[in-house]
Symmetry: C2
Subunit: 196 residues, 2 copies
């Protein structure tokens, strides 16, 4: 017996990534075997190696494409010129994007230790590039006299941690609609940069 049907590479590849992401998020990278991923996809373990050189690369791919999707989505977003409007837009964008990919956010943060040094360096580079975008907004706002910030680098990290933290507790159908929650965060971020 060989294969059951014709070519499936195009549908199988994303299935592998989806299954790996879900399993990594739920059980942790180290706890998930290639066999488990294969079973989830509906193929034999060996077949996975048509789509990834190894398990490590699979993890790296998930993190890298998460970051790439982040940049792509951000470019599709409106970029006002006014610093305060840009900050508000960043806040809104960050929340919406990350809430749609809770698994990827969790894995990208938790499994950094399981990346090889080179892969870690690449993910760290992408991450600090993203942080740089917020930092640039903050610096422009300070230069324009709109923000009051003692240290733009640390303020950047603090804001991103605050916003991303939302992914750990937000549930659809909760006490408040997402629009209202977002408005609350927009206001808190403004406060953190000294806008009254």
């Amino acid at each position: 017996m060989a294969r059951k049907q014709g070519s499936h590479a195009e549908t199988t590849a994303p299935k592998v990534r989806d299954a790996a992401l879900r399993l990594f998020a739920r059980h942790g990278y180290a706890a998930v075997s290639m066999r488990q991923i294969a079973q989830e996809v509906g193929v034999q373990a060996g077949a996975l190696y048509r789509y990834t050189p190894d398990k490590q690369h699979l993890l790296f791919d998930l993190m890298r494409s998460h970051m790439e999707a982040l940049f792509e989505a951000r470019q599709a977003y409106a970029q006002p010129s006014d610093p305060l409007a840009r900050l508000d837009a960043f806040t809104t964008f960050h929340i919406r994007f990350h809430l749609q990919r809770v698994d990827a956010v969790f894995v990208s943060y938790m499994e950094l230790r399981n990346l090889s040094p080179e892969n870690f360096a690449e993910v760290a580079r992408l991450r600090s590039r993203y942080e740089g975008e917020l930092e640039a907004i903050l610096r422009d706002g300070v230069a324009a006299g709109v923000f009051e910030i003692a240290d733009c680098k640390i303020t950047t990290l603090a804001i991103i941690a605050m916003l991303t933290g939302l992914t750990t507790w937000y549930r659809e159908g909760g006490r408040l609609p997402l629009d209202e929650i977002t408005a609350l965060y927009v206001r808190m971020v403004r406060g953190a940069v000294g806008v009254v």
Copy 2:
């Protein structure tokens, strides 16, 4: 053959916990074997079961005692009556405590998924009790007309996420001394609650 020396329960017990915490933080709960922990302690795997009923309970114990140490340390801290002073004290306390226990913080957040439902419920209870302490400060500040907060619950979660995020990047001997970093966060937290 049996034992090499006399009684060691009192020194071995904390060694087991220390080793488990360090290994769980570095490699993840699922990736760490009881044999690895035993080797780190300098004992055979079977001997670990003198100190824990099973691996799951070991993880739970680490998380629970992390929370208990948190409450204990907090009680030793000064509790001013002025809402703003209390908020500042909370910020300072939270940063200092969590920076001293980075491994426990990481494990407590990351390995929640590996707790049994009952153990998870207990840890969640302790955690929300701690959040309640900050929330109470915020409510008092609002009542006193000092803070301007639209939603105390969400503001609490946002502030804690912002502060705890510090543990992911802070390194001793970095660009700024901890005192200055703390001062920056005190200011940002103030801003987030509408204090100018």
